[in-house]
Structures are given as structure tokens and as C-alpha cells.
């Protein structure tokens, strides 16, 4: 383990010395490799090492947190002392540490550290060539590769002792197409809590090719019209919309402060009965999965909305203790430099019935959002906005002209209630979610589905 068990116990005792109720030690060592390619040249190759520890002490909902870039006894105990001083009065003891027996469900067949840098570099060139080969109008491709191997260890005053090794690999491609005055971009990525074996299932070339095809399609696009429309969200990419517009409101910190539209509404109907929304950080190999969360609680599947009724929230340890609930294994952090907060892992809408083609065929006039480029939500109101990087007009039950410059805007609760068709073509997508200045890997997914009466913002009135 990263820290000697006795040192961890000593740090917890030290942290509780001034009267904290709960104390936790989080240690981490992470090796990262990143490669990037542009102009068909491998422009950078970087490797890094980050290691350190953080100590957190809480009493009630008050938190004291100290981090330091070291795994040595002196600095670790000093951090524990400082964290303990942040909270005075009260007090509790600690339980004997006991290792939690929970083997990781994530199998790493080809650890990235076993692969030579030259082989990794070849993946980027492969993706670049495929992107450029997709059409003469592709003028640029940017390919990024990263892998990381981290070891974490968590010990707390309730006696929990957990350790895990995490491996993630990711390749992303962005292509730029130009025709006359029009310049359009397309992107795609592949990533998992797995090793280099992910490229045996889908090769690097395919990622470059798909990115380029998206850019090429959009060269034929015309400016998107604006106004209220029926919107069909293509499988996978639309998941991020529900992640932003609903998922964040289901995290227990916003429930605790009453800043979520879902607060106090368990059991109530909050969505169309076609909607079942789930968070599952235990799915083997998924990008947003881990064996434990970053507080040493095994990850699990949590039902959030079941057939339209609000079924549960996502808890970390602190909010679970404050609200009298049980942690759902959703206490996550970017690194040892950050305190754990309630976060989604892999969040998705479950499959319904029928095929995506049935949804298109049933839509007389609408907007088909094939790829979303990211978005933002106002957590208090649930108002969201999303850019559409690949969108199409639906006319008489058929997908017709590609549209550019469109933005989807709406409200999470309203959109959930306006879902009237859900298909079975489920797919997950990967991303990095930012909250309180911390980025963590998340998955989001959904089958193709239809939302009535949504505002599409374009450049044509």
C-alpha cells in the first residue's frame, strides 16, 4: 500500500486530536502519459508523476482539509495536525482499521506502462491518416492520447481501509474541414477504465475517420432555424444533456442546501414514465467506473428516476451523515489535492422500446441532434444550454438537411417530462465533468429519444 497502515492510523489519530468527529487519509500516486499530434506531426510527448496525501477532518458538516505533495511520514503527520487544528471542540475516537475486501471488477489486459512510447505514437499517426484520408476537404486533424495509472489508498476513523489501482486510456480526434468560406469541425473519442486492449475492439483509425466524417457532413450544412421544435436526441451523445440538466440536481450537496429542483420530492413524478435514470460506477471497464469511490466505499448501481418517479440521490459520506442516508459510493475527487464531493459516475437513461428509425418516422417536422458539443446548466433552475455540433432537419419522417450553429436550450424538468419516445439503441459516451473546480472522468448515455417542444436557437429567425 502507498502508506504504511500504521502511519495512516497515526495520521487519523493526530487529525482527531483537537476534537474532530471523523477523519480520513487519502493517498495517491499517479503516473500520466500524454501525446499530442497536429499538422501530422507528433508535437509533444510528456510523462508525469504526482504523489501526495490529503487529510480531512469533519464535525457535523464542518470540514477541515489539508493536502501536501508528499507521502513521507513527517509531512503526512504535519498535514494531519493542521487539519485537526481547523476544527476545535467535541471529539471522537477511531476504530481499528480493517481492509475492505472488494476486488476490482476492472480487468487490465495490456497495461499502458508495458507499451513502448513509439507504439503509442503510432496510434496518433494512424488516427491522423484516417482523418485526412476521409476526404480532401479535411485540412487539419488534432489527435490526443493519454493514459494514466494511479494507486490510491483511503483510511478513515470508522475503520475503513481501501486500496485500488486504476488504469485509464483515452484517444481523441478532432478534424477540421474547409470548403470555400465554410470551416467545420468534427470530433470523436474512445476511452475506458481499461488498458491498451481498447484498441483491439476499435482501432485508432476509426476514431480519426469518424471525426473527419462529422466535419465533412457539416460542410454541407445550412444555418439552423430557431424556435420551438420537436427534438430527437441521437443515442449516446444526448446523455450529457441529462447529466447536466438533471444529474447535478440529484447530487446530495445541492439537495442538502435545497438548491435543487428535486429536493424533497422522492416518490413524486418528475419525468415522463418512459424515463428510468440510473448511475452506476461499478460497470466493469467503463470510463466513469472505479472499484471504490474516493472515500473507500465500493461503487454501486443507484436508481435515480424509476419510470418517471424520483427514486434516489447520489451521496458522498459527508452528505450521507448529515442527511441520515447511506453513501451511494459517489464521493469523488480530482486528486489528493481536492476534497471528495458528491459526483456522478456513469449516468444513463435506460432503453425503452422500438428502434430509432421508428422515432424519426413518427416525427413530421423536427430537429435531429446527432452530436452535442457540450453545455452548461444553471443548477438552481435546471435551465440548460447545449451546442449541437452535428444536427439535421427532420421533415416528413426523414432526416434531411444538415444544420449548423444550433443550440438547444431548455429546462431539465420540463425536458424530462416532454420525452415521449425512447428507443432501445443504448450507447455510452465518455467525458470529463467539472464541478467546484474539480474534473473527474464520467460516462453518460442514453438510447435515441424524442423531446417535444424544445427551443432550438439558431442564426435564422
Amino acid at each position: 500500500m502507498l502508506l504504511d497502515e500504521q502511519l495512516a492510523a497515526k495520521a487519523i489519530e493526530q487529525a482527531l486530536a483537537k476534537g474532530g468527529e471523523f477523519a480520513e487519509v487519502y493517498a495517491e500516486r499517479r503516473r500520466t502519459t500524454t501525446l499530442s499530434l497536429e499538422d501530422s506531426r507528433l508535437e509533444s510527448s510528456s510523462t508525469g508523476l504526482d504523489a501526495g496525501v490529503s487529510i480531512r477532518v469533519t464535525r457535523g458538516r464542518d470540514t477541515s482539509f489539508v493536502s501536501t505533495d508528499s507521502l513521507e511520514e513527517g509531512p503526512v503527520l504535519e498535514a494531519a495536525r493542521l487539519a485537526g487544528e481547523g476544527l476545535a471542540g467535541g471529539g471522537a475516537g477511531m476504530k481499528q482499521l480493517q481492509k475492505i475486501d472488494h476486488p476490482s471488477p476492472h480487468v487490465i489486459s495490456i497495461p499502458p506502462d508495458s507499451v513502448a512510447a513509439g507504439e503509442k505514437a503510432a496510434l496518433l499517426y494512424e488516427a491522423d491518416q484516417a482523418a485526412r484520408g476521409a476526404g480532401s476537404e479535411i485540412v487539419q486533424a488534432t489527435i490526443g492520447y493519454s493514459d494514466e495509472f494511479s494507486e490510491i489508498m483511503i483510511a478513515n476513523s470508522e475503520g475503513a481501509l481501501a486500496a485500488e489501482e486504476r488504469t485509464r486510456v483515452r484517444l481523441s480526434a478532432r478534424a477540421v474541414g474547409v470548403r470555400g468560406d465554410i470551416m467545420q469541425t468534427g470530433s470523436d473519442s474512445l476511452g475506458a477504465h481499461k488498458g491498451m486492449e481498447i484498441f483491439e475492439v476499435r482501432d485508432a483509425a476509426d476514431i480519426g475517420r469518424v471525426a473527419a466524417q462529422k466535419a465533412l457532413v457539416m460542410l454541407d450544412s445550412r444555418p439552423s432555424p430557431s424556435g420551438k421544435m420537436t427534438v430527437v436526441l441521437h443515442r449516446g451523445f444526448g446523455g450529457v444533456l441529462f447529466h447536466e440538466a438533471c444529474g447535478h440536481g440529484l447530487e446530495a450537496d445541492s439537495i442538502e442546501k435545497g438548491t435543487s429542483v428535486f429536493a424533497g420530492r422522492i416518490g413524486e413524478k418528475v419525468a415522463s414514465e418512459l424515463v428510468t435514470l440510473v448511475d452506476d460506477g461499478s460497470l466493469p471497464g467503463e470510463w466513469g467506473s472505479n472499484a471504490f469511490d474516493d472515500e473507500g466505499v465500493p461503487t454501486q448501481r443507484t436508481m435515480l428516476i424509476e419510470e418517471g418517479r424520483l427514486a434516489g440521490f447520489l451521496y458522498d459520506g459527508l452528505r450521507a451523515r448529515t442527511l441520515g442516508a447511506v453513501s451511494t459510493g459517489n464521493g469523488r475527487r480530482q486528486s489528493f489535492r481536492h476534497p471528495a464531493i458528491p459526483r456522478m459516475s456513469n449516468t444513463f437513461i435506460m432503453s425503452g422500446s422500438g428502434g430509432p428509425e421508428d422515432i424519426i418516422a413518427a416525427t413530421e417536422k423536427g430537429f435531429y441532434a446527432k452530436t452535442l458539443s457540450g453545455g452548461q446548466v444553471e443548477p438552481a433552475s435546471g435551465d440548460f444550454v447545449f451546442g449541437v455540433s452535428e444536427g439535421y432537419l427532420i421533415e416528413n419522417g426523414r432526416i434531411t438537411a444538415p444544420l449548423r450553429g444550433a443550440t438547444l436550450i431548455g429546462n431539465g424538468l420540463v425536458a424530462l417530462n416532454n420525452i415521449d419516445m425512447v428507443a432501445t439503441d443504448f450507447e455510452m459516451h465518455i467525458g470529463v465533468c467539472g464541478k467546484d473546480g474539480q474534473g473527474v472522468p464520467v460516462g453518460s448515455g442514453q438510447p435515441t429519444l424524442r423531446i417535444l417542444d424544445m427551443t432550438v436557437g439558431g442564426t435564422e429567425v
Partner: protein
């Protein structure tokens, strides 16, 4: 820190590379978050690290570590050297020539450390209280936060450059929540400085409350094309997007809408934009950039005419120009990369009243969202979510939310009708000093 940088440089040189550079950083930060007049979270962190950049011929390699133990430094020096064998050769790569003089920039205030933590906590409480007491409809304040940081930076390279500086800063921010009839609206504000005496906590509390209150009851408006007034928060978002493609790299890689337009009119004649790496109030100021090149003031757009672009050593060499001291470096984890330091829009003479008063039917934008996905500085497409107030007959009217404002970035710049004299620093998405502006026409999509 300079000693550590020099030690790392020696180890890098020992791996047999042609050129080497070590960047060392030691920093500490403290953050206090208050909720309902209680300290909810007190967090502090200390850390240091070294990043080593080496060149083998014209190939570059990089490695970093947060663990400065002797073995680790040697290991990453070797890793950087190995990484340089993988990357493609590029004749324009290499260290900048060392400079002899550097701007005097005052980045450090002794006062920051002298003010006790208890006073900083009081400041966060005062800010929260000012918001809560502003109006009974302010139901709570989410994340009333005071934060400060202190960092020492040192760079040493094999061309003989060595330098170091120390910088500190503090800021406070909050999000006020106003509630009525089941609707919730939030309003954000912040205040920045080098020491707590420069922070206006009460003023920020009031501003956040007022911003939330003025949006209460907001609803979608009809779709229309109309004049748009952007407040400084919103202007700064727009300027950040523009600044991201006013770099040598964006032009060289054909991802700038400004490529090939040097010397041409790209904005209204009233619009002047500079990058200033030396401004005493700018949080991105420093005596030298992330590769040891002196910082300076660079005119980007003057009287609406595109003057030039920002360069680091690499992009400058590629264009046969001089680095503008814009090799930006976020931390020791990343290589220097060309980017803006402090972007400043020259303020105008108009007051907010002049701007609102000149509009018969229009939209006063207070917040935009989705700017990263909705603003494309390559194609110039700009389409973002917005909230604010309608303008009717030269007066602020009903609050609006859930609409999209859209247009083409270049057309927006050329259609600036008035510039306010109300510049302020906005530290999000860069360090930007922006005024409010009136745009002649944009598309507003709502009902």
C-alpha cells in the same frame, strides 16, 4: 526555488540533450467557505514541482514530477530526454534567446500573509451577510468563499537564462439565490486583489443579490433581431473567445477567423484590444513568461484594425517574428504554450444609462452560458444561452431567461455601437479587463 531549477537543469543536461530548461514552482493556497455565517470548509494545500523540457536536435520532450527527491529529478530528466526521441523534428523548436532586461512588475503584497485568518473568515461572512440582508427574497448564499494563493516560480535554461519571482493574490466570490413563487434565480459576484484590504466584500454581496433579484420572474421572450447590451461579465466571455484565436499558433494552424487579416478592419473603429502581461492589477502578470521571455504590452486590435498576434518562442520563429512573451504556463505539469496574459479592452465614454437609453426594443444580457460549446472562433459562429432584461423605450423592462443569442463573431465586433467606461477585471476564462458594450443587432431566439 531557483536552486531546485538549476539542479534539475544540471540533471537534464547530463542526459546528453542539446538544450534543456527547468521550471520549478512552489505554491500554497488557502480557501474558506462560509454557509449561514458558519465556516463550512477550511482547506489548505502546499505543493511544489518541477517540469523539464529538453530538445534533442529539433525534437522536444517533457516530463514533470511533484516529488522533488533526488532520484525523481534524475528519473524525470531521463524521461524528458526519452520523450524527445518520440516526437517529430521541427526546425522552429528550441529555447528562446536570453533577454537582458525585464519589466518591473509588483506582484507580491506582504500584507496578504500579515492579515490573520480570522479576519479573512470575517470577510467571507460579511459578504454573505450583505447579500442576505439586501432583500428578504434572498433565501441563501451558496459558496461564499474567500481564497488566496502564494507562488514562487523559477526558470533556468541551458542558454544561460535564470530568473525567479514571487506572486500572491486573493479573491472572494459568492452566488446569491433569490426565490419567489417557486422560482429560483442566482446571481454571482466576485472581488480580487493582492491583499484583503483591496477586496470589496460587502459590495460583492450586494451585487450578487441584486443580480439574482433582477432576474426573478424571468421568462422566455419572443424571438427577434434586436440591439444587445452586454455587461462587462458577458463582454469578457466574448473577448476571451476572440483572444484565444489572436495567437500565432491559431493562425499558423488555420484555426483563427483572423488569419490573413493583419492590417484590415475586423471591428468597429471604437474597439481597441491589447494583451498586457505587465499590468499591476492583472492576475496573469509576471516579469517573464513560462519560457523566460520578458512580458510586454502587445496591441492586437487598434481602432478596429488588426495589428498582430501573440507569440511564444516557437510560433514567433515559425513566422520570423519576435516572441511577445506569451509562452503561458499553468503549472509545472504543462509545457509553455502560446496564449493571452491579461486582455484589456479600451474603455469608452458611454454610461450604462446612455446605452440602455439609446435602445427602443432590445436585450440587456447579464449572463451567458455554454460559451465553450456555442462560440466557435474558427468559423466565427456564436450562439449561446443568455439571461438578462428586455429593454423597452430606453428603460430596463421584464427579466428574460432561457433564450439564445446568436450571430457571427466578426459581424458582432464590427457592429459595436457604444463602449462603456465601466471596465472591470473578470478572472474567469482568463484575466480580462472588459467594459459593457452595445451591439447593433443580434438574433435572440426564445418563444
Amino acid at each position: 526555488m531557483l536552486e531546485i531549477a538549476k539542479k534539475a537543469l544540471e540533471m537534464a543536461a547530463a542526459t546528453g540533450v542539446d538544450e534543456a530548461e527547468a521550471f520549478a514552482l512552489r505554491g500554497s493556497s488557502t480557501r474558506v467557505r462560509v454557509y449561514r455565517q458558519q465556516v463550512e470548509e477550511l482547506a489548505s494545500s502546499t505543493g511544489s514541482g518541477v517540469g523539464i523540457r529538453v530538445f534533442r536536435g529539433d525534437s522536444v520532450g517533457y516530463a514533470y514530477t511533484s516529488d522533488l527527491g533526488g532520484e525523481n529529478l534524475a528519473a524525470i530528466a531521463q524521461a524528458a530526454s526519452d520523450n524527445a526521441t518520440v516526437t517529430a523534428g521541427d526546425e522552429f523548436r528550441g529555447l528562446p534567446e536570453p533577454a537582458s532586461s525585464f519589466p518591473e512588475v509588483d506582484l507580491y503584497s506582504e500584507k496578504l500573509a500579515q492579515v490573520p485568518l480570522s479576519e479573512k473568515i470575517e470577510l467571507a461572512k460579511l459578504m454573505e451577510k450583505a447579500a442576505l440582508e439586501r432583500d428578504s427574497r434572498i433565501s441563501q448564499v451558496d459558496s461564499a468563499t474567500y481564497a488566496e494563493g502564494d507562488g514562487r516560480v523559477a526558470i533556468a535554461n541551458s542558454k544561460g537564462f535564470s530568473g525567479q519571482y514571487r506572486e500572491n493574490n486573493c479573491y472572494a466570490f459568492l452566488q446569491a439565490i433569490a426565490e419567489t413563487d417557486g422560482q429560483m434565480q442566482t446571481g454571482m459576484s466576485f472581488t480580487t486583489g493582492r491583499h484583503p484590504g483591496q477586496l470589496d466584500a460587502a459590495g460583492s454581496g450586494v451585487e450578487a443579490a441584486d443580480r439574482a433579484l433582477s432576474l426573478l420572474g424571468a421568462a422566455q421572450c419572443q424571438s427577434m433581431s434586436c440591439p444587445v447590451v452586454m455587461d462587462p461579465f458577458v463582454t469578457s466571455g466574448l473577448v476571451g473567445v476572440i483572444g484565444s484565436v489572436l495567437t500565432g499558433e491559431a493562425v499558423q494552424k488555420q484555426r483563427s477567423m483572423f488569419a490573413g487579416l493583419r492590417g484590415q478592419q475586423v471591428a468597429d473603429v471604437a474597439f481597441t484590444l491589447t494583451d498586457d502581461g505587465t499590468h499591476f492589477e492583472g492576475l496573469a502578470s509576471a516579469p517573464f513568461d513560462g519560457e523566460g521571455v520578458p512580458t510586454r504590452t502587445t496591441e492586437l486590435i487598434k481602432d478596429g484594425i488588426l495589428q498582430g498576434f501573440l507569440y511564444d518562442a516557437y510560433t514567433a520563429r515559425k513566422d520570423g517574428r519576435e516572441s511577445t512573451g506569451n509562452g503561458i504556463r499553468g503549472s509545472y505539469r504543462s509545457q509553455p504554450h502560446v496564449g493571452a496574459s491579461n486582455l484589456r479592452v479600451l474603455g469608452g465614454a458611454a454610461s450604462m444609462k446612455d446605452m440602455i437609453g439609446s435602445v427602443d426594443l432590445g436585450f440587456y444580457v447579464m449572463e451567458v452560458s455554454g460559451i465553450h460549446s456555442g462560440a466557435n472562433p474558427v468559423s466565427g459562429d456564436f450562439s449561446v444561452g443568455a439571461s438578462g432584461r428586455l429593454i423597452r423605450g430606453g428603460e430596463l423592462a421584464e427579466p428574460v431567461r432561457e433564450v439564445v443569442i446568436a450571430g457571427n463573431l466578426m459581424a458582432i465586433l464590427k457592429n459595436i455601437k457604444m463602449i462603456g467606461g465601466d471596465n472591470r477585471w473578470v478572472p474567469f476564462g482568463g484575466s480580462i479587463h472588459a467594459p459593457s458594450i452595445l451591439i447593433g443587432e443580434m438574433t435572440v431566439s426564445g418563444k
